[in-house]
Symmetry: C2
Subunit: 423 residues, 2 copies
C-alpha cells in the first residue's frame, strides 16, 4: 500500500457529546504529523454541509484553538441528522452520493473521518463501499461518538463517560437536597435522562451510590419492561425506609407490550423516531396519584450531553485517542473501519484502540447485559459498576472567564467553493 497524498476531511454527526470535539482535535493533531496529508478540512454540519460544499479550513485555526477543542462541548463544526437514505429514497440517495464524490474529487479528499453514532457509522460504511465501487481512492474511518453507549464491538463510546459523570453527580447532589428536606411525609424525585432504547445513561447514575441508603434508589432502564405494581411497591418501601426516594429513568422506558411510557406518537424526528418526552412526568403522576407522595421531576435533556464543565478526563483523553487512531489507521492504508476502544485490563483500567469492520457496526445496538442488572431489575449490579466506574475518572477543567467556562470559538474560515451549487 503506497503513500496516499491528498486532503483530509473530518465531520461530526448526530447528537453531540461533551467530548465530540476532542476527537476532532485528535484527528487534526495526528494529521499534522503526516506529510502525505496536505489540507485539513472540516465539513460544516456533517454530511449536509459537505453536500453543500461547505468546508472549513482547519489549518487556519490557531493551534491553541485546536487544543481547546478538547474541553469545548457541542459540535464545533456543527452536526446534522441528515442521512443518505437508500432505503427511504434511493433516487435522492444516489444523487447525494454522486454529489459527495464530486465534492471529494474537487477538493482532493483522500481521507475522510466521520464522528458519530449508529446512523453515522452506516453513512461512513456506505461511503466506503461507494468509493470501492467507483474505484475512488479514499480512506474512510468512523470515529465512535455517542452518549448512548450503544455502539457494538467497542468497550464503550467516547461521550458516555462524561454523560454519566454529569448524571451521577447531579443525582448525588439531588439526593443530598431531597434527602435533607425529607421529613415523615416522604418525598420522591424522578430524574429523566436520555436513552431511547438502551439504559446505559440511566444505569450510570448508580455510580452516585456510595452507601445503600444513597440516591439513586431505583433506576428504570428501557431494557427491563416497566412493571407499575412492582415499581410503586419499591417506591413505597424506599420512602418508608429513607423518607425519600430518588428514581432515575431512561426516556425510552417501555412496558411489557413494548409501548413507551413517554412517547408522544404525534411527533417524530427526521429519522422517523418518535419524539419522547415525559417518562418522568408519567411516573410522577403515578407516584403522586397512587401513593400520595410528593413528587417532583428533573429532565436533564440536552444539558447531559454538553456538560463539559465537569467532563470526564478519561473520556476526553480517549475521545482524542480515537481521533488519532483513526488517522493512524488511514495512514496505514485501512478503510471501512470504525475505531473501537478495547479494555485490556480492568484493574488497573487500561484501554487501547482497535479497528472493527463498519459492516459489523452500522445499525446494530448494544444493550446492557441482563446479568449486569439486579434480579428485581431496579438497579445495575456490581458488574456494571466495575465496567462504568473507570470511565468517569478525572476532571476536565475548562478555563473560566468571569465565572463561566471559556469555551473555544473557532475562526471557521471557509474553503472556496469550486462546484456549482447542489441542485
Amino acid at each position: 500500500m503506497g503513500e496516499l497524498v491528498g486532503n483530509l476531511l473530518v465531520a461530526q454527526s448526530g447528537g453531540p457529546t461533551a467530548v465530540i470535539n476532542a476527537s476532532v482535535a485528535g484527528v487534526v493533531q495526528e494529521a499534522g504529523k503526516h506529510g502525505c496529508i496536505e489540507e485539513i478540512y472540516a465539513g460544516l454540519n456533517g454530511i449536509l454541509g459537505i453536500l453543500n460544499e461547505e468546508l472549513i479550513d482547519l489549518n487556519d485555526e490557531k493551534a491553541r484553538a485546536i487544543e481547546g477543542l478538547k474541553y469545548t462541548p457541542g459540535p464545533a463544526f456543527g452536526t446534522c441528522r441528515y442521512k443518505i437514505n437508500f432505503a427511504k429514497n434511493p433516487e435522492l440517495a444516489a444523487k447525494d452520493m454522486d454529489r459527495l464524490f464530486q465534492v471529494f474529487e474537487a477538493h482532493s479528499i483522500r481521507y475522510f473521518f466521520y464522528a458519530g453514532g449508529n446512523d453515522s457509522q452506516d453513512t461512513s460504511n456506505r461511503i466506503h463501499a461507494e468509493a470501492v465501487k467507483r474505484n475512488y481512492e479514499i480512506r474512510v474511518i468512523g470515529v465512535p461518538k455517542t452518549i448512548d453507549n450503544d455502539l457494538p464491538h467497542t468497550d464503550h463510546c467516547p461521550g458516555y463517560g462524561s454523560a454519566i459523570k454529569y448524571c451521577a453527580t447531579t443525582v448525588m447532589e439531588i439526593g443530598l437536597d431531597v434527602g435533607g428536606m425529607a421529613t415523615d411525609d416522604g418525598s420522591c424525585c424522578i430524574v429523566e435522562v436520555m436513552g431511547r432504547s438502551a439504559g446505559w445513561i440511566a444505569a450510570g447514575a448508580v455510580l452516585a451510590k456510595r452507601n445503600p441508603q444513597d440516591a439513586p434508589h431505583i433506576i428504570l432502564m428501557p431494557e427491563i419492561a416497566f412493571n407499575e405494581e412492582a415499581f410503586l411497591a419499591k417506591v413505597k418501601e424506599t420512602v418508608a425506609l429513607n423518607k425519600f426516594c430518588i428514581v432515575v429513568v431512561g426516556e425510552g422506558l417501555k412496558n411489557a407490550q413494548g409501548e413507551e411510557l413517554g412517547a408522544d406518537k404525534s411527533r417524530v424526528d427526521s429519522f422517523g423516531h418518535a419524539v419522547l418526552s415525559g417518562a418522568a412526568d408519567r411516573l410522577a403522576e403515578l407516584v403522586q396519584g397512587k401513593l400520595n407522595t410528593k413528587t417532583r421531576t428533573v429532565k436533564l435533556g440536552y444539558a447531559q450531553r454538553a456538560a463539559a464543565h465537569f467532563a470526564s478526563l478519561t473520556d476526553a483523553q480517549e475521545a482524542a485517542q480515537c481521533g488519532e487512531a483513526a488517522v493512524k489507521a488511514a495512514i496505514d492504508g485501512r478503510s471501512g473501519f470504525m475505531v473501537k476502544l478495547v479494555r485490556t485490563s480492568s484493574s488497573p483500567y487500561k484501554v487501547t484502540t482497535g479497528l472493527q469492520d463498519l459492516n459489523d457496526i452500522a445499525n446494530v445496538e448494544n444493550f446492557i447485559p441482563r446479568d449486569w442488572i439486579s434480579e428485581d431489575g431496579f438497579l445495575p449490579n456490581e458488574k456494571f459498576v466495575e465496567y462504568a466506574r473507570p470511565l468517569i475518572e478525572g476532571e476536565v477543567r475548562p478555563p473560566t472567564e468571569g465565572g463561566l467556562p471559556k469555551y473555544v470559538i473557532l475562526e471557521k474560515s471557509k474553503v472556496e467553493k469550486i462546484l456549482s451549487p447542489r441542485s
Copy 2:
C-alpha cells in the same frame, strides 16, 4: 449589655442551596472563638426537629468535616417547610411556641441562628418577639439563604450566585449543543428554572451571553406578563436569524391576568402554594404547534439548587461570612435582625455585611426592577448584568473520589433528650 453565657443552636430551613452549609460552617467556626458560647448544637430538620428535641452536637464533628460543609450541598442537618403559623392555626402555633421555649430552656439555648428565606425569617422574627414577651434571654439572628434572591434589603442572597452560575453554564453548554445542530429547519430549546414569583434565576442565565447571537435568546421572567403573540414573534425572528433559539423561563411565568402558565391547580404544597410544573412544556407546545419548529425542553429542578460541583466561590465565601456575622452580631447583644449583604463598591466588587430588623424582612419579596429589563421584556439589560456578574466569580472545587465530588458526611451525634415527647 453583659456577656451572655449559654449554648448555641443553628438550624436550616426551606429549600436548600449549594452553599447553605457554608453559612453553618461560618456560624460554627466563629462561635468557636467565643468563650461565652458553650455547646454548639444544630437542629435536625429545622424548627420541626427542634420541636421534637432532635439536636445534633456539632462539637462532636471533626474540624475537617465542618470545613467541608463549605462545599457540600443539600442541608447537612436537614430542613423543613414547617411553619409556626399563627394566621392559619393560632392554637397549634401557641402550643409550638411553648414547646420551642421548653426546648430552649432545657438545653440552655441562648443563641439561635436560622438560615432561610422569607418564611424562615418570619419564624425567626416571631421567636425573637416571643422571647422578648417571655423575658427569655436569647439572641436570634436570621441568616439569609435562598436561590430565589427575593429577600429585601440585602444586596443579594447567599445561594443565588451558585444557582445562576450553574444555570448560566448549563444554558451556555446547551446553546453550543443546539446551535451546533441547527440547520435550516431551525430548532428551539426551552429551559425551565425555579422562581415562583421573582425571575432572578431566569435572569441570571443572561450571563452566558457573551455575543448577541449567543444563548440565551429569550428570558421569560414572572415579573413581565407573558404575551403569547410577542413571544412567538420573537422566537420566529430568532430562529430566522440564528437557526436556533434558546429560551429560559422562570417556572412562575404568568399571563396578563396573573394566571400561571405552568400551574396545576390541583396540587398545593404544605404552605398552600400551587405546585408549579410545566411552564416549559406549555411553551414548547406553543412553539411546536404554532411555528412548527422542533422544540425540546430541559427542566433543571432540584439540580439547580444543589450543584456544588460548580458553585460560585464568591457565593460560598459570602455564605460563610453571613454565618460569622450572625454570631458576631449576637455576641454584640443584637437580636431580631437578619444579616444582610451590602455592596460597598461595584468596581471592584466589594461586599460587607450589615443587619436589618427582621420586621422589615418577613414575607416581603424583592423583584427585579423594571428598568433592569429590556424594553421588550425579553432579556435583562446591562444594569442586571453589572449587578449579577460578580456573584458568580470563582469556582468552588470540591474534592473528588472516583470521579465524583466527595461531599462531607457528618457524624450527627444526637444530644440526649431531656423533655418528654412533644404531644
